[in-house]
């Protein structure tokens, strides 16, 4: 039995299908990622899974029970929303107490859980006493996580848990998420950072414009859709066409109108490539070896990049 299933979900806003027959199946104990650019439909899918929005068709099951069923237990699922959705005018501790009250967490269990959460999330009383409105982004997220975890859910749904955080703090969060997973929580997260999906997730679905393009373990996806290792040449755009001609017979091509990619080459081939460029007088801005990433997978599947800069 899957921990979470969303089957053939369709959601239409006006004329557009924001979700077009989306199916995901999450195993108990895994970290499952939804990787996709802005507007792909990640939040919409999560909110439908949670029952916050109504799908036009399709079903959602949690541990085999349809969520619209009366005997579906809401305590099974915790949610850490994209915007932190805490009560800004309440202190962190009041927010946590509030949700504990609404989930009906018994007082004794509350104390124990709070202590372990404080430890786990590195929340001290100083942070918890402050009104949420005065907390930093990272602190808020930790409080939001505590408010979701206080009811001890089996499945945690996190919508872009690290968007907008400093790279260092982001790494701390990754550690937190893996730790949670080790404690036995099933995690569904969304992200548009390919490193996040790569590093954290056991399996990933790549979602774009309301459709799931592929699903699989990051390494498998990279192998299957990421292409080979390649050399990337960064050049001024006016030299792109010229360079492409130069490397045409090696399979070089212009990617995203930004750089030249020559597939099948690696470090060993760099001197050779440099030499040809020097001979034709094309100045090089940068040259590197690239191993396929989930970004490549996305680019190969859609012809576009994951995050537009």
């Amino acid at each position: 039995m899957y921990a979470l299933e969303a089957i053939e979900i369709i959601k239409v806003y006006g004329q557009t299908r924001v979700l077009d027959k989306v199916t995901i199946r999450v195993n108990a104990g895994e970290i499952y990622g939804l990787l996709g650019p802005n507007g792909a439909g990640k939040s919409t899918l999560m909110e439908i899974i949670l029952g916050l929005r109504r799908q036009d068709s399709g079903t959602v099951k949690i541990f085999g029970v349809e969520t619209r069923n009366r005997d579906f237990d809401k305590k099974l699922v915790g949610y850490v929303p994209q915007d932190h959705l805490l009560y800004e005018n309440l202190s962190g501790i009041d927010n946590i107490k509030y949700f504990a009250g609404l989930y009906g967490v018994p007082r004794k269990a509350f104390k124990e859980r709070l202590d372990s959460l404080k430890n786990f999330l590195e929340l001290d009383d100083n942070i918890l006493k402050k009104d949420v409105v005065k907390l930093s982004g990272g602190q808020r997220r930790r409080v939001a996580l505590a408010a979701s975890l206080i009811a001890d859910p089996k499945i945690i749904i996190m919508d872009e848990p690290t968007t907008g955080l400093d790279p260092n703090i982001r790494r701390d969060f990754w550690r937190l998420i893996t730790d949670l997973n080790k404690e036995g929580k099933t995690i569904l997260l969304s992200t548009h950072y390919m490193e996040e999906a790569d590093e954290l997730c056991d399996r990933v679905s790549i979602i774009d414009r309301g459709r799931i393009l592929v699903t699989g373990a990051p390494d498998d996806l990279k192998k299957q859709y990421g292409g080979e290792e390649s050399i990337i040449l960064r050049l001024k755009s006016r030299y792109l066409d010229h360079a492409q001609m130069l490397f045409e017979d090696m399979g070089g091509s212009i990617v995203a109108n930004e750089y030249i990619k020559i597939p099948g080459l690696n470090e060993v081939d760099i001197p050779r490539v440099k030499k040809s460029l020097d001979e034709t007088g094309i100045p090089v801005e940068g040259i590197e070896v690239r191993r396929p990433t989930l970004e490549d997978v996305f680019i190969n599947l859609t012809g576009r990049r994951l995050v537009e800069e």
Binding site: E47, L50, L52, Y79, L90, D94, G101, L102, Y103, G104
Partner: protein
């Protein structure tokens, strides 16, 4: 029940933490109450300036002047020319002036009809009313006293002897002062009126506006997403918020008394149990209206804005600051349908006249029915919109 109380507790906490809301809902009306009480009652009572031209100059005319002097609401100016008095009245230095014509005393003692002339500044009808009331009061008092005064007067002047007094007693009772018709006013001071009115201000703001804000802000801030995910039911959310706004109104009411009692020192009947019942009913009326506003508005901002505007508007039509008697009749009849006005009537009955709530069964019925219907409709609509975003 635990969930409802949890929502109520933290909702109240949030409302008490939003500084601007706290100022407008709580501090502002109380400051205004103190300010109005200071401006309009001059530290206790109003002073009415009355000019007197005593052309009679008898012991009886002097008695009238004495009575005017003995009240603490009038300041008497004795003058010697009709013209001066008239000019002072025109310049609004006087609220009224009185001419006691020559022969006034003689008319009374000889049993003929006596007349005094009263001229009142009518520019401000409210003050004119009060002035008339006070003059009427003085004349009434003079009528009560006059028998004794006349007896003393007649005895001293030797016009009658002791044996005739028995006859005079019957005679004196028929003395009639013919002054222009006057209208009496209720003998309640403004500060008591104000203190009781300010309680009803809470029904509009601490109840109606706060309930609206606390419902629609869940949507605005997105926190409703989190609430829906908990096992809490929509009706529990609404009941929790209702209790929250009610609690806030009770805190506000307690604050009004805590500030108002020592500073204004009002003469009121503090019947707390009866008062509590009306305050709860009045507050629930406000909350019910807040529910309807939240249910019918398209946007959160629209709902909060509308509730505030309605509150600002309604305060003039439920008699918080000034008596509704000042309104034209057709408006006054309409105000009777506003439940908060009815609640305030009952509050004034209890606090100002020492009446029991049992005297107001009609009002209580009206409030209860209003609450049940409006709350049910609002809750039904809102429950739907609170189950998905």
């Amino acid at each position: 029940m635990r969930r409802i109380l949890t929502i109520a507790k933290y909702d109240t906490k949030i409302m008490l933490k939003v500084k601007e809301a706290l100022f407008w809902n709580m501090a502002f009306p109380i400051i205004l109450m103190l300010l109005f009480a200071a401006i309009f009652s001059g530290g206790g009572s109003i002073t009415i300036d009355i000019g007197i031209l005593d052309q009679d100059n008898t012991e009886l005319s002097q008695a009238i002047v004495d009575i005017f002097n003995s009240t603490n609401v009038t300041k008497v100016v004795i003058l010697d020319s009709n013209e001066t008095l008239y000019n002072m009245l025109k310049k609004r230095d006087l609220n009224a002036y009185i001419i006691i014509p020559e022969g006034f005393g003689a008319n009374i003692t000889s049993g003929r009809q006596a007349t005094i002339d009263v001229y009142i500044d009518n520019t401000d009808p409210n003050t004119a009313d009060i002035t008339r009331g006070i003059i009427q009061g003085v004349i009434d008092r003079f009528n009560e006293m006059s028998r004794e005064i006349i007896e003393g007067f007649l005895l001293r002047t030797g016009r009658v002897n002791q044996s005739m007094i028995g006859f005079m007693r019957t005679y004196a009772e028929t003395i009639n002062l013919d002054i222009e018709p006057v209208v009496g006013t209720e003998n309640i001071q403004y500060k008591e009126f104000l203190l009781t009115g300010i309680i009803a201000y809470g029904f509009l703001f601490s109840s109606m506006v706060s309930a609206t804000a606390s419902i629609v802000n869940e949507k605005k801030a997105g926190t409703i997403k989190r609430l829906i995910l908990t096992p809490v039911r929509p009706i529990e959310i609404l009941l929790g918020k209702t209790f929250g706004a009610l609690l806030l109104t009770l805190i506000y009411t307690a604050l009004v008394f805590a500030v108002g009692l020592p500073t204004l020192q009002p003469k009121i009947y503090l019947n707390i149990p009866d008062l509590l019942i009306v305050v709860v009913l009045g507050s629930l009326c406000g909350i019910s209206i807040g529910l309807i506003i939240s249910a019918l508005s398209k946007t959160p901002e629209g709902a909060s804005g509308f509730a505030i505007v309605l509150g600002i508007f309604l305060q003039w039509f439920i008699g918080i600051w000034f008596p509704l008697e000042l309104l034209p009749d057709y408006l006054r009849i309409l105000t009777d349908y506003i439940p908060m006005k009815r609640a305030l009537d009952v509050i004034r009955g209890i606090l100002l006249y020492g009446e029991s709530i049992a005297l107001y069964l009609n009002e209580i019925m009206y409030l209860s029915i209003f609450i049940i219907i409006v709350y049910a409709v609002g809750a039904a609509i809102l429950s739907k919109s609170l189950s998905t975003i």
